[in-house]
Symmetry: C2
């Protein structure tokens, strides 16, 4: 989803002269399909020396937890092979690598807010693989092999499209489905707090990171992205202001112990002063996130 | 050095019934030599299902910086292959893995003191490889494949034996050489502060970690070990109290810009309350570190 939106955004950007798209899944006819962890695949990717490489490819959280080997192969080995392939080009080639990390690198218990200096102690294999990617990115950057920036993306909300079975799916579902005249399930209490940014904001993080001054970033190459801290109750009130009571009545409360346990290990609020000082911007409140969803997906 | 001292300590321990020693370098006749990153080597290591595995094997800081590929192969791939080999045994096998990490996982700038929640943003490839090892250890533990404890060891001082060319070598050299009636070179100013534990304390950290209750450790499986925070000036005064002015006169000040730059990125003081609460103990002051050296090496 993020890759598709980023592609649309870059296609409108006059400074982008050439765009090569590679996906591990066969998404559409114009996109090359490659398994970056397969022998030779990473080398082929960088053979024409792109100036900027967006490394979004990942086995997402639920799948990385269900399939331990696949998660490590794609998320860890894939990232490392990409960095190695860039290093192997040599001849002063040092592209900007924008690495999509995640707030999943953090694991409870947390201070409130979570500062830029807080340790990464993930509680999922996905978060572990992203945290390792950050460390590799920083070391390859320090050694002069790449010019990497890692972005710890908030939970993307409102995610467009069909409901998925990710543990975080309901955060988008309770907004998206009611605005579509459909019912949505809420498996956690209203006081659960989490950290969000819209798909539009996430794409702008990536685009901004492509052009940012690497020297200003310093040795700590990964940045927690700004976002909106909101409780489920605040999400619902934002929905009410756009869709009215009728939309809110579409939300059905069905407590799910498993999802509650998973979500209780997730962060609720960050102090992202490093990213803000470097010019990264997210929405101001959850009302704005709902408005962006209506503008980008429902008009 | 640490492996040898640990072996001597375990050989005196009545609860240890069998001890298998494996080194990447041919150290002595009774020690198997194996490259844990070579195919099949890790599987052979765990075939007889040891209860406790001490993972000390490493390419040290200077060599990992000089030989990028070797550092990643031994320190990262070697650790991962060991964890994978343990996982492959299956059948409920879940040994205690004591992983020797390092305060090199931290990189300046620092708060003073550095707390247990502080981020790992290493400034060396060695520190990066150790930080990745910590993340793998935590995830393999969370998934139930191993029961891991990572120990971020302080700089070991006074390191016995001949001077080496490690950037940190002078911290031991300025004590060890004068007490041997030899000259020592001091390449940094007297106000440089660093974090130390004796070889004896480090061995006891490892032995303690072998028997500690894993449940009490929780999800954050790596612990910064207690130590002594001392400046070079405090080291020198401790030396004077044992060896007199004559010993101190053996220290020759030869400022070295390269070493000064490296050392300026190193930590000076930690708040290690997690490790202290779990029963890990180091020396109380640098005088005690010098005394331990005299007792263990010079008597």
């Amino acid at each position: 989803m993020l890759g598709r939106k980023l592609t649309e955004r870059l296609a409108r950007d006059a400074s982008v002269t050439e765009l090569a798209l590679v996906d591990v899944a066969a998404g559409s006819a114009e996109i090359d399909v490659a398994d970056v962890a397969a022998p030779g695949a990473a080398a082929a990717l960088v053979a024409n020396r792109p100036d900027v490489i967006f490394a979004l490819a990942a086995v997402l959280s639920g799948e990385a937890e269900a399939d331990f080997d696949k998660g490590y192969r794609v998320n860890l080995d894939g990232t490392r092979l990409l960095l190695e392939a860039i290093r192997a080009v040599g001849g002063g080639y040092r592209p900007r690598v924008v690495f999509a990390s995640s707030i999943a690198v953090f694991g409870a218990p947390f201070p409130d807010p979570i500062g830029d200096d807080f340790q990464a102690t993930p509680l999922t294999s996905y978060g572990t693989q992203k945290a390792i990617g950050e460390l590799l990115l920083a070391d390859y950057t320090r050694r002069g092999f790449v010019d990497g920036i890692g972005l710890r993306l908030p939970t993307i909300c409102v995610r467009p499209g069909a409901p998925n079975r990710a543990a975080s799916g309901f955060f988008s579902g309770i907004i998206r489905e009611p605005l579509n005249g459909e019912d949505a399930v809420l498996p956690v209490p209203d006081d659960v707090r989490h950290w969000f940014a819209s798909p539009r904001a996430a794409v702008e993080f990536l685009v901004h990171a492509a052009a940012i001054d690497g020297v200003a970033v310093g040795d700590r190459r990964s940045l927690t992205m700004p976002g909106v801290s909101a409780t489920v109750a605040e999400q619902i009130e934002a929905l009410r202001r756009v869709g009215g009571d009728e939309a809110v009545r579409r939300i059905r409360r069905e407590p799910d112990e498993t999802i509650m346990r998973i979500v209780s290990g997730w962060p609720g609020r960050f102090d992202t002063r490093r990213a803000l000082a470097l010019g990264f911007r997210a929405e101001q409140d959850f009302d704005e996130i709902v408005r962006v969803h209506v503008e980008d997906e429902l008009s």
